[in-house]
Structure formats: structure tokens, C-alpha cells
């Protein structure tokens, strides 16, 4: 960062200090985008816990675009020197804000509570900057899941697929049943989620080199061509009305028997559970075919901002409350994700949750726990969005399969 920017930030922090002095002592202002019923209820647990400690919760919800709108608000807030206490954030957004130098240091509470030993290393990469804790992780989602309707699967007389060929065979069988084989919502991030699953099914090493490292050779390789071929193939199993559909409406298609399977992160589980469906009986949760043993993850974290000494105490209390094992269980059983700490019992979780916790532990062990591109844990926002552009253009037929790999490589190059 150059001098001007530093001075600008210092000014912003100073104004924040002044603003902080005027407000009540024990207060946290929380910027987040969890406004849907279940998520908001889960977060309310945290609010109640904090209030028991005498900390007031000032709620600042901004929904829309998986946090896009909230990030815009955050820029305006920080620029005007009025940063919130804590901000819900994903992956590389955290890294960028840490680089901007406006975040608070949580080492004090982290050391006291020993976060270093209980938070998975892959998460710590985002929760820490320059070796200091700046964020408290709430959860860990994984995106390489298939949600299959057991009714359709039984009718097809099949077992859940384990590789690409059996996946296609299953989709073909669903097609014959007269239902939409693959429920999908045509929004850029959903296209990208599907794409990253297909990439991962080509091998974790390929995912690392194509998505995490973005080697030009990998991006233009034959494997990448195959990835786009498969995307085109999958497009054939999606109904014509997919464009713009929200992910939960796609889940509803599977729940109501209009579609056979959905590829989506584990937040989709909540939709199935709310419809009184039982994992293993009414629906199957399995890893995307060919990605067993690997996990693409994303994690919601609360990044703490510099707010001045007066609000520091409440801020640290909030950080500790987030990492409280009880809260982690209460929150994540509702949200469909798993706790962001490894020392929590899986007792309270359902079959899918237990599987997820086991898979993540295994993947962390074998170094196959990788960040999700579509959810901002594999590349900085500029690169991620540029790649997403190409993926969604291709899925919507504006780019051919032959053009797509080169277009992807170009997009990455221009975005750097």
C-alpha cells in the first residue's frame, strides 16, 4: 500500500475512534446477509448469548447477491470512518480487507481459547493475516454434494453414482422417467459451483493447478476441454426454464418430484429437512461423482474491524461467543454446515452432517481440502468473477466448448 492510501486509512480509523467514543460501551454492530428465516434464527442464538453477557447487538442486515450488497455497504462504511464491529465475510474478501489494514487483532482471545489447535488449517488461512487472528469462523460448508431424490433413484433401480459414467447413466434414467434429470438454477455462481465440481472430478491435483494456481497450461489443457464438454453434456439434462432460478427453487423441484437430482452446497440440506424429508430415506446426500475423498469448502467468518478501545471489549466477547462450541453446534445444525472447529462432537448432527464432518477431517488429513471458486475461496474476486463470466457464457451457449478453455485463460490473464 502506498503512502496516500495509508494516510487515508489512518484517517478513517481515527474517525472511527471518535465515532466509537460517542456510543454506548458494550455494543457490537454486525453487518451480515443472513436474513432468511432459518439463518436469522440461528444467528439470533448468538445475539441472545451476547446479551446475557451484557453486550447489545445492533443489527445491520444487507441481503442480496450472496454478500455483494453487504460488501458495497462495507466499503461505504469504512470509507466514511464508520466501520461496523463485525462483518460476515467470505474467503478472499477477508484477505483483501486484511491487506487494506483496517481489521482488528484478535490474538488475545484466540490464544486464550486456543483457536490455533481446534480450527482446521485450511480455515486459518483466511482467519489469519500475517500470522494474526482477524476473524472468527462460524462454519464450514462444502460444495461438492449431490442431492438425489430417493423416489427417482428407486424407480430407476440404481445405486447412487460414484463416477462420471454412472452419473450420466442415472441422469439418462431420470430422463426416461419424464422428469427433469438435473435441477439447476441459471445464475452465474450456480453455474460456477457445478463447474468446480466437474473440475474436481478430474482430480484434486488438476483442481489445484487449474483453479487455485491457474496455470495457463492447465487452463488450456485437454482436461479443461473435457470439463467444458461435460458442462455442455450436463446442460442437456437441465430444463429450458433454468435461467435466473434461485437455488432453493431448484431444490424444491427435487423435493416435489419434478426433478431427480440437484448439485449444490450443503446449505441445500435445510430445504430438504424443512420439507420433512429424511436423509437416506427420502433423499441421498453424496459427494459429486468422482470427488470422493476431496472437499471444496467455503466458510463464513466474522471479520472484526478496528473500532477503538471503547468497543474493543464487546468485540472480543463477540469473537469468543462465536467460537463457543455450543453456539457452533446450534448454528450449524440449522445452517446445514459443520462447525469451524474440529473438537466438537457430531452427535447432534444428522447423517449428512456426520458424513460431512468425517469427509472434511479426512480431506484435511490428505491435503485434498480445497477452497471453492464459486464462493470466493480459491481466487481473488476479480479473477473469480472473470472465470465465472466465461463459465456462465459457455453454459448459456454464448461460447462453444472449443472456445471456452482459451477464453478462460484470457479472462484470468486480463483480471490479474
Amino acid at each position: 500500500m502506498n503512502m496516500m492510501a495509508k494516510r487515508f486509512m489512518a484517517g478513517a480509523a481515527a474517525t472511527a475512534l471518535l465515532a466509537g467514543a460517542a456510543t454506548a460501551q458494550e455494543e457490537v454492530e454486525v453487518l451480515h446477509w443472513w436474513t432468511a428465516g432459518g439463518e436469522a434464527a440461528a444467528l439470533e442464538v448468538l445475539k441472545t448469548n451476547l446479551e446475557a453477557e451484557g453486550v447489545t447487538w445492533s443489527d445491520m442486515p444487507v441481503a442480496g447477491g450472496a454478500g455483494d450488497a453487504a460488501m458495497t455497504t462495507l466499503r461505504a462504511r469504512v470509507t466514511s470512518g464508520n466501520a461496523p464491529t463485525a462483518v460476515q465475510m467470505l474467503g478472499f474478501d477477508i484477505t483483501e480487507w486484511a491487506n487494506a489494514g483496517t481489521v482488528a487483532n484478535l490474538d488475545e482471545v484466540a490464544e486464550e481459547e486456543n483457536w490455533g489447535d481446534v480450527v482446521p488449517a485450511a480455515l486459518q488461512e483466511f482467519s489469519k493475516a500475517d500470522g494474526h487472528w482477524i476473524a472468527a469462523p462460524v462454519n464450514m460448508h462444502s460444495t461438492n454434494w449431490l442431492w438425489i431424490s430417493d423416489e427417482a433413484l428407486t424407480e430407476a433401480g440404481m445405486e447412487p453414482p460414484t463416477d462420471w459414467d454412472s452419473f450420466i447413466a442415472m441422469l439418462d434414467a431420470f430422463q426416461e422417467q419424464g422428469i427433469t434429470p438435473l435441477a439447476h438454477g441459471g445464475q452465474a455462481w450456480q453455474d460456477a459451483t457445478l463447474w468446480e465440481n466437474v473440475v474436481l472430478s478430474m482430480g484434486t491435483d488438476f483442481y489445484k493447478s487449474a483453479v487455485l494456481e491457474r496455470n495457463e497450461d492447465a487452463l488450456t489443457s485437454d482436461e479443461m476441454h473435457t470439463v467444458f464438454e461435460r458442462m455442455e453434456q450436463l446442460r442437456g439434462y437441465v430444463d429450458d426454464n433454468f435461467s435466473g432460478r434461485d437455488w432453493n427453487l431448484a431444490s424444491a423441484m427435487v423435493i416435489e418430484g419434478e426433478a431427480g437430482v440437484q448439485q449444490m452446497g450443503d446449505w441445500a440440506k435445510g430445504e430438504f429437512l424443512r420439507a420433512d424429508m429424511v436423509p437416506g430415506e427420502d433423499f441421498e446426500c453424496i459427494r459429486f461423482p468422482g470427488t470422493q475423498g476431496s472437499v471444496t469448502f467455503n466458510t463464513d467468518q466474522f471479520v472484526m474491524f478496528e473500532v477503538g478501545e471503547e468497543r474493543r471489549d464487546a468485540q472480543l466477547k463477540m469473537a469468543a461467543a462465536i467460537m463457543d462450541p455450543e453456539f457452533q453446534i446450534a448454528f450449524n445444525t440449522v445452517k446445514g454446515s459443520v462447525p469451524a472447529r474440529t473438537d466438537v462432537s457430531d452427535e447432534e448432527f444428522d447423517a449428512c452432517g456426520k458424513k460431512s464432518m468425517a469427509d472434511i477431517a479426512e480431506a484435511a488429513e490428505s491435503d485434498t481440502l480445497v477452497g471453492s471458486l464459486a464462493h470466493g475461496h480459491a481466487a481473488p474476486p476479480a479473477v473469480k468473477n472473470a472465470m465465472q463470466d466465461v463459465i456462465t457464457q459457455h453454459f448459456n451457449g454464448a461460447l462453444t466448448t472449443d472456445e471456452a478453455p482459451q477464453a478462460l485463460a484470457d479472462a484470468v490473464k486480463y483480471a490479474m
Binding site: 478513517a12 428465516g37 470512518g81 464508520n82 435445510g270
Partner: protein
């Protein structure tokens, strides 16, 4: 002008029927989205999922309205839209009053007290209507921070004032331009001062253009989302932000009936303003805003 059609009684009647048919058809086009919103806001969720979007409700329920107003989750607490409604009122009313007064005074000066360079000043103000708001976010945040009103209702009022001035000045300038300058001159000879003339002579006859300006400003400021979401704080976020939190929440069952009820609630103040003062609106436009 009706004399024209009445002079041809035979073809006239057919034409007249066609005319009404066309008018009613267009009325349907304009009403359809509102109808969809209204009809579905009083249906139980189950009926929406299974039924036809255009069908009248089989079971009438006002539960969604009650939910949207005071029970729905728009954040961690289940407050409904109610508190945000007041935030919006607290922002819109001062902004509209300030901009209307400034616009009227500006229009007065620009037409009756012109000086060299006044036209350039006016042109510069007018150009301000056309800048895309997105570019204003970051610098405006710094200005508000500098003034110490970041995250307050007054910060929002200031921003809306800045971007409402251009049109308000345009409206009043065009209106006052048609006002006979001789009257002003005569009053000045009689010893009336700047403000006396404004309050005693111009303002009493400004009714129509005030209506146009107020409608225009009220609608634009009430409906603004971008500034509200960027410069609002937890205690000053306007209703559009809450509505967005309600309808674009990321997960869970989409309660369309509640969404539609909330959308209508959020639109109610502007709708009422239009319907109540609609008659004066065209009259106001007639008397200046468009003639210019």
C-alpha cells in the same frame, strides 16, 4: 375537441367504442403487475405454489400483510418492515422540504434576478441530474465521514438533496419563466423586497409546480435503494433496504405472499401521493414543467 367525432354520428360510434376498448386494454396492461402482487399477497403460500398466478384467491388471508408489517424476519430480530417505514419517513420528509424550498428559490433567482453567468450555473446544476449514482458512493462516503454525519438520517438527507436539486431547479425555473416579469417589476417599484415578492407574489401561485416537484422528489427519494444501503446505519436504514432483505434473502422457503404484501406496503406512500395529487400533477405539468 369532441365536436369532431360527434359530427359523424355513424362511424363515430364505432370509433368511440374502439377508443374505449383501446383505453381499457392499456389500463389492463398497466394494472396487471399490481393485480398479480395484490392477488398473491392474500393467498396462503400453498395456493400460490400450486395455483395459477392470475387466479383470484380461493382462501382469503391477511396474515401475509400482518407478517410483512410487523413479524417477518428482515434481520436477526423479527421486526417486519414497520421500524424501517419510520426511518424512511424521517429521511424523505426533510429532504423533500429542503429541496423544494431550494429549488423554488433557485428558480426565482434564475428567472427574475438573473446575473451574468447565471445560465452557466443553471446548466451545471442540470447536468448533475445525469451522473450515474454509482460513482458517488465512495466519494460521498468520505464527504459524509468528514462532516461527521455518516450513517445518520441527516447524511442521507444531504445526499438526496444534492441529487434532487437539479430537477427541482429545472421545474421551478421553467414555471417562473412564464410568470409575468412586469408584475415583479411593479412590485419592486412599490418597494417590495426580494423575499416579500417571493412569499407574497410567486409562492401563492406556485401550487401546481410544487405538486409536481414534491411528487417527483418524494417518489425518487422514497424508492432509492443504493444510497440507503450504503449510507444507512442500523438505526437509519430505509424501507427499501428492509424490503430487499425480505425478498432477496439467500435461503429458506420463499414466502411470496409475504414478499408481495411487503412490496405493496413499501409502495403505499408513493401510490397514495400519486393518486391523491394525480389530478394536480397533470395540471402542474401543463403549467410549466414540460412547456419550458
Amino acid at each position: 375537441m369532441s365536436a369532431r367525432t360527434e359530427s359523424r354520428p355513424d362511424g363515430g360510434r364505432v370509433l368511440r367504442a374502439l377508443l374505449y376498448a383501446a383505453l381499457i386494454l392499456f389500463a389492463i396492461y398497466y394494472l396487471l403487475p399490481l393485480y398479480v402482487m395484490l392477488a398473491n399477497s392474500v393467498k396462503p403460500l400453498e395456493e400460490i405454489r400450486q395455483g395459477n398466478m392470475m387466479a383470484l384467491p380461493q382462501v382469503l388471508t391477511f396474515e401475509p400483510w400482518a407478517q410483512a408489517w410487523s413479524e417477518a424476519k428482515v434481520g436477526v430480530a423479527a421486526t417486519g418492515l414497520k421500524p424501517y417505514f419510520w426511518n424512511s419517513i424521517k429521511m424523505v420528509v426533510p429532504a423533500v422540504i429542503i429541496v423544494t424550498i431550494l429549488g423554488a428559490l433557485n428558480g426565482y433567482v434564475l428567472t427574475k434576478y438573473t446575473f451574468r453567468g447565471a445560465n452557466i450555473l443553471f446548466g451545471m446544476m442540470l447536468l448533475g441530474c445525469f451522473i450515474p449514482f454509482q460513482i458517488a458512493l465512495i466519494p460521498a462516503a468520505r464527504v459524509l465521514g468528514f462532516l461527521g454525519i455518516a450513517g445518520t438520517t441527516w447524511g442521507l438527507v444531504l445526499v438526496h438533496t444534492a441529487y434532487g436539486l437539479g430537477f427541482a431547479t429545472l421545474f421551478f425555473r421553467n414555471y417562473y419563466a412564464a410568470f409575468p416579469t412586469e408584475l415583479i417589476r411593479a412590485a419592486r417599484i412599490d418597494g417590495a423586497g426580494f423575499f416579500t415578492i417571493f412569499f407574497r407574489i410567486l409562492l401563492p401561485s406556485s401550487g401546481p409546480i410544487i405538486v409536481v416537484t414534491v411528487i417527483w422528489l418524494f417518489t425518487n427519494i422514497w424508492n432509492d435503494f443504493l444510497f440507503g444501503v450504503s449510507f444507512g446505519d442500523f438505526d437509519s436504514q430505509p424501507m427499501t433496504v428492509a424490503l430487499n432483505n425480505l425478498v432477496s434473502s439467500s435461503g429458506g422457503v420463499k414466502e411470496y405472499n409475504v414478499h408481495f404484501a411487503g412490496a405493496i406496503l413499501a409502495a403505499l406512500p408513493t401510490l397514495i401521493v400519486y393518486i391523491v395529487s394525480g389530478r394536480y400533477f397533470v395540471r402542474g405539468l401543463m403549467s410549466g414543467a414540460v412547456k419550458g
